[in-house]
Structure formats: C-alpha cells, structure tokens
C-alpha cells in the first residue's frame, strides 16, 4: 500500500482510490498473493504442468480490464482479473471469464480466404497471407494510382489504444477521409453533448464512487455501459464501502438489471428521457435548488441574454420554466408529477449528484438524441457537478511518444480534402462519423462511388440491415475486405477475409478509460496464435509497406508490437509488462476558473469562446447554424414522431420496441459464446434464443401466454421469439434482446441442430436513419405488433 501515496502528495490522493485499493487488497481475499506480481509472474512447476500467468488487457468491451491469464502447457485455461489494474482491481466479468471460449472458438476463421464464386455464395478458397495481402495491396495501390484513394472506405467498430490512431494514420496517408466509426450508433450522442455544452470532445466519466445521488438515464449502467466494470465496483463502493450510502435511480422503460439493482426504478415512456430531464430542471430552477454560484460564474445562457448585435436570446431558465412544466412533462413521459418533483428535489439536494447519459446503441435512438443528451448533461451543470468529486469527470490521457513525422503526398492531400462518404461534416455538419448513413450513400453513389470497403471489427449487415438496403450497398461495392474473426453476416459477403487474431494472441495496448486519470494497459499475447490469423494492426503495417511510398514512411515499424513499444517508450516497459498497466492513479479535479479548468470546459471549442463557461445555450451550435431559432441552441425536447398516437401505423403497430444491451451479450465478438448463451436471459430464463418481454396488460389484451412463440413484426420485417410476460416493462413497450440472431455452423451441445440461427436479430425490425444535424443514428422508437406463430 505504501508505495501508492509516496508517488503523489498524500493530500491529493483521491479517497476513492485509496479506499478501493485497500478494499481490493483486503476485503475480497483476492489480496495477499495477488499483490505479489513477481511471484505470480514466475512460472511454477505445478502438478498439472508448466504454469504461467500472463497479464494482458481484455478487448471484449470498451472497459478494457486487466486480465491475468493462467496458461498451462501452452494452453490458456483460466482468466482472472488483474488485481493490479486500477479499473477492475482483480475482478472479471462474465465476458472476460468466457474470453477463452472466444479464443478457442470453433467458429474462428483459420486463415485468409477469398470468395471464388458470387459474393455471399460461400464458395471460399483459403489462400496464404502473402497472396491475400498482395491482393488487397494490389487493389489499394491500383485505386491510388488511378487517383481515387478517397473511394476506399473503412468502417470500424470499437478500436482500442493505438489502433485508433493507426487506422486514422493509415487512411490519411493513403488518401481517404473515409474512416467511419460505429460511434454514431451509440456513444456519439454523449460525446456530442459534451462538446456542444462543455466544449470538450470526450466521453463523460462519472464519479460514482464519490456521488451521493446517481441518476442514470437508460438501463445500461450496471449492465452494458462503456465503463461497466469500473461502474460496478464504484456502485458497490458507493453503497457499502463508505459511511453514507448513495442512492441510485434508474430511468428506463424496462426493469433491466440496472433497474432491479437500483434503489429506485422510474419507468418512462420510450424516447422521452429529454423531457424528464427538462422537467427536473424546471423543478430545480423553480425551487432555486441549483448551484447558483456555479451557474452564475461558470455557465452561459442560463438567463436570457443579449448578444453582441443586441439581439435578445432566450436562456435555459426561461425556456424550461415556460415550456417544461411538471404537468406537461408528466404527460409526455408518463412519470407522475410528484415523482418527477421528488426525484428532482433529491437530485439537487443530495450533492454531489450526477446524471448519467447512456452510451449504448439503442438507448438514444429516437431521433432526439442530441438534445436529449444536452438536456441530461445540463442537469449536471445545474447542480455544479462538472469536474467535481462525485460529478462528471473528464478522461485524462497519458503523454506518449510522438508519432514519427511523415509528409502527405499530393494524392493523399487531395483525398483528405474530399467530402466524407458518410456525410459527416457535410450532410451532418456536427457529425464525426455517420456509420448508419454509409449504405444509403453508397447506393446513391454520392458524393462518389466507393470502390473498396474495409470492415474492421464492424458488421454493418447485422447492425443495420435496413430491410436489405445495406446488403444491396455492400453488393454494389466492387471490393469488400473484412477483418472478421468469424464468418459474420457482413464477412459472408466480403471478397476477401483477413482474419483477425483474438486479443489473447496479440500485442496491443489500451488507454485506461472510465477512471478519469491517465493510464495505459498493455495487451500481450497469452498464447501463440492458434490459427494462421494476424493482428489487424500488423496487417495494416504490412499493407502500408507493400503499397510503399509515403504510406510505408508513415509506418516505419516492422510489427505492431514495435509500434506499441515505441509509442509507450515514455513508460517503464519492464514495469508495464510486469503489472500489465500503468496509471497515474490520481484524478485532479479542476478548480473552476483555475488554469486547469480550461482543460475541462471549452478546450475543444471551434467557433465558440473558450471562456471556461459551460454552455446551457450552445454557442457552438449558434455559430454553426446561424439560426434564428434559439431553441436549436438550447436543450429541448422533440417528441419522436413514432411516439405520437396519431403516428402512421400506430393502430397497426401498437407497441414500441425497446432494445437494450445485456451484460450477457458479446459485443465485440460476432460469434457464439456458449457460456454467455447459457446465461443469456436472466429475467426471462431463456437460453440460446430470443424472447420478447411484454407487459401483463398486453398479454391479456392479445391473449398471449408466457412461453408462446410469436412473431414480432414491424413494417420492415419480422422476427420470431418466445413470449415472456414481464411485470417490469412499460405497458406499451416490448423488449427484444440484442446481440442474438447470429448464424452458427457449429453444433453446440448435444442434439442441437447444425446450421442454426441462435435467436433473432432485433435490428432487422428498425429502419436506421440519421438525425439531420448530428448524424446520430435514429432507429425508432420502432413500432411493432405481435401475433402468435
């Protein structure tokens, strides 16, 4: 213990870290051995064979926990949490536990393959890496030579550590602006809200450890949030690790695990979080319970104001007081007025309080994501929870070695200046990327046709089937390359598959995210690659070298491991390897108005003053839109068209579909993880399948019984599921579990069918479109109807 305080002034050591490390060491009994890394790292000759512990970093969800992989005779046989990792402190979730089923998955693609027949025909031929890379490099080189490097697009899912920049750098040096992140489906809303209000382009980190009141919008805090493990540990600490037990309130249409384990569940009409947040703001402002000093000195646009030209603008206060009265909000959200008032009162008077934004796909996809996120985040500013203990923190990143310089050649410069294929920056002025818009734009051929598409950890055919439009788009692209590890829906339609190794076989790194303080977590191979697969990082390096020229100069490393080692050369490599991670362990909260404050508020503003003021009235938006309407710059609530009872098809499709990620869902792995499947539906007792949760009322009205097979049909498509009559769901909503519906050719367990589809993919029901300004995905609320099979 002693060496932690000794590194930093004791007074600065955050209480949470101190106590948490104490807890990690002493309480769980994980303790004593675990704190002796030297002893663990040495191999011991056990009864069962040569045994070593390899420290690495999980890549199955965005948490990035440290893992201790127990390797016996060259086989990884057990995964534990790394007790020296500040995020998970020795614990490991079920996805981490079952990562060995990912590593040894029989579904893995074992070597590169090329589609011989028509795309999607499954007529594959296995080829060597050399042939495969030559094929890809040839195509890339050809397009570049033809002056069309921008016609290459790369869609990617979650990328960790240096991989994000590696991909960006590769595409930039190659000459394409089209690096399209899946972020617009999920966490993009939170990021944008932070940028437009707080002025930082970052994902929020919530300090649950020190909060007294945690209000989470969405059902994923304890189930599927980006920093799941950190938040689970923090919530446990908030409840039982300190003298005062904090309160956790979950707002969600469904009683998810978060709702179940929260102190209070607030059922709400789907798609109306924003209204509730504004209704709460109304109560807080009306009762003068907000942090007046903070609001006065460090925010902008709370009161009505006059701009430089003398135009009068509406402020947040008058908007909220005029428009979001309790009665109106109650009517919109379906939450009773006294409950809204009580929760608002509790929130404002039990500081530090924090209002959390959901970051998972499906949570804020009702077409009002941007303003909903702004409204929720405004609550944090109202109670002064910006960068304070128990409030919203800002992730710090460590200083790493610089990337080596290289010059962009003319082709690359020209490519860079092209409009992005997804419309980010053009069609959607605020967007960084608009994943869901790619298929539509490919089909339109706007602004130019796409000649080659790379899919890295992305499966657009599964994410947004859009009634076959995405498949059509994929078919329209002449050359599709997938880095898939399993033959997922999109990879099945690729020309070439360059199979990625699993995270347990490769070198890599991961930024410590979700703790606030800076840190790096190292990923090192626990076992030698099982198959002839490669780390996509290595593949990109190889491609760069094969294409040559500037691209080769931008990547002077032989292997991705070299790249990592060079980037992390500012850190003590030996220690990093021994502990698996390095971090500052201390979060320094910025004092409002101090020099550090400018790092947390306003840092990344482009068109608005970096004056250290939190924007209730977004000056960034104002500058961008030059709009007459003040409303467009203020958090407000737009009723999603699908919610109105007069909505088209409201009678034919009476239910609203709620899709909320589960903890048992393997997000970063498109294959089947048998143990996850066997614990898939905790509340529904459904395994290896999909179920649809409907309310008692709906079941009675439709004469449906628990366990019956039904069709869930939207105007777009229909899926089959088993009915679960569930008390914990908004009466007018139905829930389908995401992450199911993958095809598998493996016979899992006795008497299982071969070539079966496990459950059903709820994404097929929704039509994915984009919000006009932000380019965030809109998927509903999807209206569905249910009828027996």
């Amino acid at each position: 213990m002693e060496n932690f305080p000794s590194q930093t002034p004791p007074s600065e050591l955050s209480r949470r870290d101190f106590i948490k490390f104490g807890a990690a060491a002493a309480i769980a009994g994980v303790g004593l051995n675990a704190l002796q890394p030297a002893q663990q790292a040495t191999s011991v000759q056990a009864a069962v064979g040569e045994e070593t512990i390899v420290k690495t970093t999980c890549a199955l969800c965005p948490s990035g926990c440290g893992l201790d992989v127990r390797v016996v005779n060259g086989k990884a046989v057990k995964v534990e949490g790394n007790p020296l990792h500040p995020l998970n402190q020795g614990v490991c979730c079920l996805r981490g536990q079952t990562s060995l089923e990912v590593l040894y998955s029989p579904e893995r693609i074992q070597r590169p393959r090329v589609q011989m027949g028509e795309r999607g025909s499954g007529d594959w031929k296995e080829i060597s890496w050399d042939e495969a890379l030559e094929l890809a490099a040839g195509k890339l080189g050809e397009l570049r030579a033809a002056g069309k490097p921008h016609s290459v697009a790369l869609m990617h899912g979650e990328l960790r550590g240096q991989m994000r920049q590696t991909v960006q750098r590769f595409m930039r040096a190659y000459g394409s602006p089209n690096v399209i992140s899946r972020e617009s489906l999920g966490e993009g809303a939170a990021r944008m809200a932070l940028w437009l209000s707080q002025g930082v382009n970052a994902l929020p980190v919530y300090d649950i450890n020190n909060a007294n009141y945690v209000l989470t919008f969405g059902g994923n805090l304890l189930e599927s949030s980006r920093n799941l493990i950190g938040y689970l540990g923090a919530t446990a600490f908030m409840r039982r690790g300190r003298p005062q037990r904090g309160k956790l309130v979950a707002v969600h249409p469904r009683l998810s695990l978060t709702g179940i384990k929260a102190d209070e569940w607030v059922p709400i009409r789907p798609g109306t979080y924003g209204a509730l947040a504004l209704g709460m703001a109304n109560v807080i402002i009306n009762s003068k319970l907000y942090d007046e000093a903070f609001v006065r000195d460090f925010t902008f646009g709370f009161e009505d104001f006059e701009d430089a030209e003398g135009t009068l603008h509406k402020g947040f206060k008058s908007l909220v007081l005029e428009t979001y009265t309790l009665e109106r909000v109650s009517a919109i959200t379906g939450v009773s007025t006294d409950k809204i008032a009580r929760i608002a009162g509790e929130f404002a008077t039990n500081r530090p309080a924090v209002a959390m934004l959901p970051t998972e796909a499906g949570e804020l996809s009702s077409g009002n994501a941007l303003y909903t996120a702004l409204a929720v985040h405004a609550l944090n500013a109202l109670v002064g929870s910006i960068d304070v203990k128990g409030g919203v923190l800002l992730q710090r990143f460590p200083k790493l070695a610089d990337w080596p310089d290289y010059t962009l050649d003319a082709t690359a410069r020209l490519g860079e200046s092209r409009e992005r294929i997804d419309g980010a920056g053009s069609q959607f002025p605020l967007a960084l990327s608009a994943y869901q818009n790619v298929p539509e734009r490919i089909l339109e051929g706007k602004p130019y046709p796409i000649e080659a598409l790379f899919l890295l950890n992305a499966n657009p055919l599964y994410d947004l089937p859009n009634g076959g439009r995405t498949l059509e788009a994929l078919q329209k692209v002449p050359f599709v390359v997938s880095f898939a590890s399993t033959l997922d829906e999109s990879a099945a339609y690729a020309d070439l598959i360059l199979p990625a190794s699993t995270f347990l076989e490769v070198w890599g790194d991961d930024y410590l995210e979700g703790t606030g303080y800076a840190g790096i977590s190292l990923r090192q191979p626990a076992v030698a690659p099982l198959h002839d697969t490669r780390n996509p990082g290595d593949v990109l390096l190889d491609l760069a070298h094969r294409i040559g020229g500037n691209l080769a100069k931008a990547f002077p490393w032989e292997t991705y491991q070299d790249l990592i080692m060079q980037r992390l050369s500012t850190l003590d490599w030996e220690k990093l390897q021994a502990n698996g991670n390095w971090s500052e362990l201390v979060y320094f909260n910025a004092q409002p108005g101090s020099p550090a404050w400018s790092e947390v508020v306003g840092r990344d503003r482009l068109n608005a003053p970096k004056d250290g003021r939190f924007d209730f009235f977004s000056r960034e938006l104002f500058a961008l839109l030059a709009s007459d309407s003040d409303l467009a710059c203020l958090p407000h609530f737009e009723i999603p068209p699908a919610l109105a009872d007069t909505a088209e098809g409201a009678l034919d499709y009476p239910f609203l579909l709620v899709v909320q990620p589960l903890i048992t869902q393997s997000q970063q792995w498109q294959g089947i993880v048998p143990t996850l499947q066997e614990s898939y539906g905790l509340q529904g007792h459904v395994k290896w399948d999909s179920w649809v949760e409907i309310s008692q009322k709906a079941a009675e009205a439709l004469h449906l019984e628990d366990g019956q097979r039904v069709w869930v049909e939207s105007p777009l498509d229909r899926v089959q599921a088993t009915v679960r009559v569930y008390a914990g769901i908004w009466p007018n909503a139905v829930f389908l579990p995401p992450g199911q519906g993958h095809h598998t050719f493996v016979r899992w367990g006795r008497k299982s069918e071969q070539n079966m589809v496990v459950g059903a993919n709820p994404n097929v029901l929704s039509l994915f479109t984009s919000e006009p300004l932000s380019g965030l995905a809109v998927a509903g609320p999807t209206r569905v109807r249910i009828y027996p099979v």
């Binding site: 309480i27 769980a28 009994g29 994980v30 004593l32 009864a47 005779n73 086989k75 990884a76 046989v77 057990k78 534990e80 949490g81 614990v91 490991c92 979730c93 996805r95 981490g96 536990q97 079952t98 060995l100 089923e101 590593l103 040894y104 998955s105 029989p106 304890l222 540990g233 919530t235 446990a236 409840r239 039982r240 695990l257 179940i260 384990k261 569940w265 059922p267 048992t664 048998p674 143990t675 996850l676 066997e678 614990s679 905790l682 007792h685 395994k687 290896w688 399948d689 008692q696 009322k697 569930y726 008390a727 914990g728 016979r747 899992w748 367990g749 006795r750 008497k751 299982s752 069918e753």
Partner: protein, 228 residues
C-alpha cells in the same frame, strides 16, 4: 480445522453472472446447447436465480446468486445410499464421482436445487476442450453422476501446496473460490466461519445477514446480506 463459509452481499451484487461464468470456466461444466438448456439441463453450479414478484410498476425483485450452501446439516448427504456425497472435515460437501450410482435422490432432497445430474456425457466442440482446467479434481464428470459446487476445493489444495512450497503456514485468506475472486461488485466474501476474527464470521453475524430456508434446519454455510 477451518469451517469454510461464504457471505454474499446482495447490496453489492449486480446479478452480472460473472460468478456463473467463472465457475464454469474453473470447474469444467460442459456446454449444454439449446436443446438441453431448454430442458433445464444446463449445468451451472453457481446460478443467479431471479425472484421477481409484484405487478407493474411496483415490483419486488431479489437476484440470488446461489452456490451450494454447504450445509452443516446437509439433506443430500443423509439420503445418499452409497455415501458418494459427503461432508469433509472442513465442512465442504463433495461428491465422489466414482462411487455415485446416479439415483438422484440427493438432487430431489436438496431444497436449494444446487445439484446437477449429468444426463449425457459432457460435451464440448472439440476446439473448446483446450481451455479445460487441467486440475485433477475438476476433470469432466462422466454421464450418470451428480455434480455440484465444491467451493473450488482444488484451489484449497493448491493454496496449501503453495504455502508448503514457500515454507509458510497456510492462511485462510490464501484460499479463494473462483466466484469470489471474480465477483465484480466485490460482493462475495469467503473464509473460516470458526475464526471469530475472520471477515466472514463478522459479516455472518451482521444484522443484515440471513440464510436461505433457515427454517429447514439445514444450517447453510452461505450467508446473504440483505439488499438496501
């Protein structure tokens, strides 16, 4: 002689089922597959059982992670005709897989439903067998016998061996079952209930502590701490 026991704090348990998965990976319980899982034959020694009562919007829920209770007065041991299931001197209830005749009387007798029968030989897709835990105690059980949570007693042996190898006395905190080690909320505590200074014996006497079906007189050694 220690008397091993567990305490599970339901206020810190988030029903994440990590214990369920950790247990499976540590103890080599087989992949059931859809067909068998639908018949309720999936073997998960450490299940989380959801108790959901009430009607919308007032719902009472308890998520109960349920390992074997390792009762001091185990009903399963009493009914086993061949003493294949027994309580060892440290209070851990174990099954002798070589002796079990598969009559399933113990599965019927256990009020906690912790005992699982191998209806079929254990199965994995060939590739997945690589990750099986090589410890001799957890070799896959044959068909036709009953198996259950053992408090990961192979870890107890290893901890003792390790202590011996290092020439130090074995300490109760050296031994941690897989579910306790992995618990994401640090909700599980494990240790010697006979040691008045151990954390588990303190927590087991907390005002929040209760045991499942205490009225049955089985004297479980797994304690729960009430939520909230």
């Amino acid at each position: 002689m220690p008397r091993w026991g567990m305490v599970i704090d339901l206020d810190k348990c988030f029903a994440c089922q990590s214990c369920t998965a950790a247990c499976r990976m540590e103890n080599n319980t087989p992949v059931a597959g859809k067909n068998q899982a639908d018949m309720g034959r999936a073997i998960l020694w450490n299940e989380v059982l959801p108790f959901i009562e009430g009607e919308y919007p007032n719902i009472h829920t308890t998520m109960l992670p349920r390992p074997c209770m390792h009762c001091d007065n185990p009903p399963c041991v009493k009914v086993c005709p061949v003493q294949a299931t027994y309580k060892n001197e440290e209070g851990i209830v174990l099954v002798n897989y070589d002796r079990c005749i598969g009559c399933r009387m113990c599965t019927v007798a256990c009020p906690y439903a912790v005992r699982y029968f191998n209806w079929y030989p254990p199965e994995w897709p060939e590739e997945l067998k690589a990750h099986l835990n090589p410890e001799p105690e957890v070799q896959p059980r044959p068909k036709g016998v009953v198996e259950k949570c053992t408090f990961c007693f192979q870890r107890l042996r290893k901890a003792r061996e390790e202590a011996d190898a290092e020439g130090r006395p074995f300490n109760a905190t050296d031994y941690t079952p897989a579910c306790v080690q992995t618990c994401t909320g640090h909700a599980r505590y494990f240790g010697d209930l006979d040691d008045p200074n151990s954390l588990v014996s303190k927590l087991a006497h907390s005002p929040r502590a209760f045991r499942m079906f205490e009225e049955l007189g089985t004297q479980p050694k797994v304690y729960y701490l009430k939520q909230g």
